[in-house]
């Protein structure tokens, strides 16, 4: 299990969701969700398909704004203390603060360098060439990819293996110095070795970022996360330390799901 000795002080919250309802058209997908995600921790969202875990993840950087009729109908979401649902929020800036890594790696058909530099150029946060190169290198190092690609930065990202492409996407989201990194089943298309590399990376990244991961793998949740939230039919059933969830969950529904005795 991914647990360290108990912290002497409570980590500050990176994300605070309060009494939130979310609907796709007339269908309510999330009901009265309240949870606080700690900074510099890995938090796993688990639950059966359709339980709302990915919907909640996409709410955290307003990715659901792209879906017609999808909207938060009640409650609040704060990231770093800022109400991200407020009309004045610039979603491009929000997504720099709250990066996202998807189930299937989605590198752009550009060079490895340009993939990582993309966000930096978009946000105009880097002025000089040497600064840009430095930030790209730092991001690739953070994603544990630098040693594998440093001699072929100008080659197409599409020539990388699946695991390398996924780490490149992680590097791309890290390049803009986010506060939070959201990961939606980031290893589901990877082989066991590539999965182990990404999981190892997730554990390293928690030193600097708040990471929220949606996963269908109970083993992955227990290996990489510090806290786990279990969702069922759009409701948050239980949210606790991962060690507690997987050794002695308080709720019978949680126990049935993680033991595989569901239904």
């Amino acid at each position: 299990m991914a647990s360290d000795s108990p912290d002497t002080q409570e980590p500050r919250p990176a994300i605070e969701v309060g009494g939130m309802d979310f609907c796709y058209g007339h269908t309510m997908a999330l009901k009265d969700i309240s949870l606080t995600v700690a900074d510099r921790k890995v938090t796993a969202f688990i639950g059966p398909s359709g339980c709302g875990k990915s919907t909640l993840l996409r709410c955290l950087n307003r990715m659901n704004d792209e879906i017609p009729g999808a909207r938060v109908t009640k409650g609040s979401i704060r990231v770093g203390g800022i109400d991200i649902l407020h009309k004045s929020v610039d979603v491009v800036k929000l997504r720099r603060e709250v990066g996202m890594v998807f189930q299937k790696s989605n590198p752009f058909p550009y060079s490895i360098f340009d993939n990582v530099a993309f966000g930096l150029r978009l946000h105009g946060s880097v002025v000089g060439k040497s600064e840009l190169e430095g930030r790209v290198e730092a991001a690739l190092r953070s994603a544990a990819l630098w040693d594998e690609v440093k001699d072929r930065l100008r080659e197409s990202a599409l020539g990388l293996s699946g695991g390398q492409q996924q780490r490149l996407c992680i590097a791309r989201s890290l390049a803009v110095n986010p506060r939070v990194v959201l990961m939606d089943e980031p290893c589901s298309a990877l082989d066991p070795i590539a999965t182990a590399r990404v999981e190892d990376l997730i554990r390293e990244l928690r030193e600097r970022y708040c990471i929220v991961i949606v996963t269908h793998s109970m083993q992955q949740a227990s290996r990489v996360s510090d806290q786990t939230a279990f969702f069922y039919l759009g409701e948050l059933v239980e949210f606790a330390d991962t060690m507690v969830i997987f050794s002695n969950p308080a709720n019978k529904l949680t126990e049935n799901y993680i033991r595989g005795t569901f239904g």
Binding site: F246, S247, N248, I258, G260
Partner: protein
């Protein structure tokens, strides 16, 4: 409630059945060892020594099956506790059976010496140790953590009887009443029965962990309510 993966259920069922079989054999070995001692039955003592192989085999099978279940099914929550607790219970049962074999071996040696009526002094200690083992297994099979938690108090009575017996047999030894070897064997039998009490308490503690995820090991020492550091 059944697991979605049916083979998982089957493995867990077989696992519990093996523990119960092991407990039955262990209890039987203890009964026979003490009967061999109290009735000077050397043939029965031989039978106990031979039967211990079955308990050893079962311990190995429990470990194998536990490893396989951990590897294949990645148990969590109460399933994980069941496998871990049962593997530890199997180790305690195997040690109890080893003590039964030790008693049987001493019975065999005592039967070659002039009979000592004082061997009967062991009966109350044996009755308590046997009762504690039975309670421990009842706690496991009946999913009764309260019974499991209550065993430590009963074990203190066993510790008290063991100390009394050790003193009494030592006095005989020092007084040179009969062969010294006989008194030493009886002291060690008393010690084995006392250890069987401790191992039964361990089974009770594992049952509490299994049923309520509570680790009560060493609690009585922390509370200063028992335990004998000299043992």
């Amino acid at each position: 409630m059944s697991h979605i993966f049916r083979e998982y259920d089957q493995t867990l069922r077989q696992f519990q059945e093996m523990i119960l079989k092991m407990a039955t054999l262990t209890r039987q070995n203890l009964e026979h060892a003490m009967k061999a001692l109290l009735t000077a039955d050397t043939d029965l003592a031989h039978a106990v020594i031979a039967a211990d192989n079955d308990v050893d085999d079962l311990e190995r099978r429990v470990d194998q099956m536990g490893m396989e279940a951990l590897l294949r099914f990645h148990p969590v929550a109460s399933d994980l506790r069941m496998i871990i607790a049962s593997m530890k219970i199997s180790t305690s049962l195997e040690r109890i059976s080893d003590h039964a074999v030790g008693i049987a071996k001493r019975a065999r040696k005592l039967n070659l010496l002039p009979p000592q009526a004082e061997v009967q002094w062991l009966e109350p200690l044996y009755a308590d140790a046997y009762s504690l083992l039975r309670d421990a297994m009842d706690a496991y099979t009946q999913h009764d953590p309260d019974l499991g938690e209550s065993l430590d108090a009963k074990d203190r009575e066993i510790d008290r009887l063991h100390k009394q017996l050790t003193r009494a047999y030592s006095a005989k030894l020092e007084a040179h009443e009969g062969p010294a070897e006989a008194w030493l064997h009886l002291i060690f039998v008393s010690r084995s029965l006392e250890r069987i009490g401790d191992l039964s308490v361990n089974i009770g503690e594992e049952t509490v962990f299994l049923e309520s995820a509570k680790d009560i090991r060493h609690e009585h020492r922390k509370n200063g309510s028992g335990g004998d550091a000299s043992q």
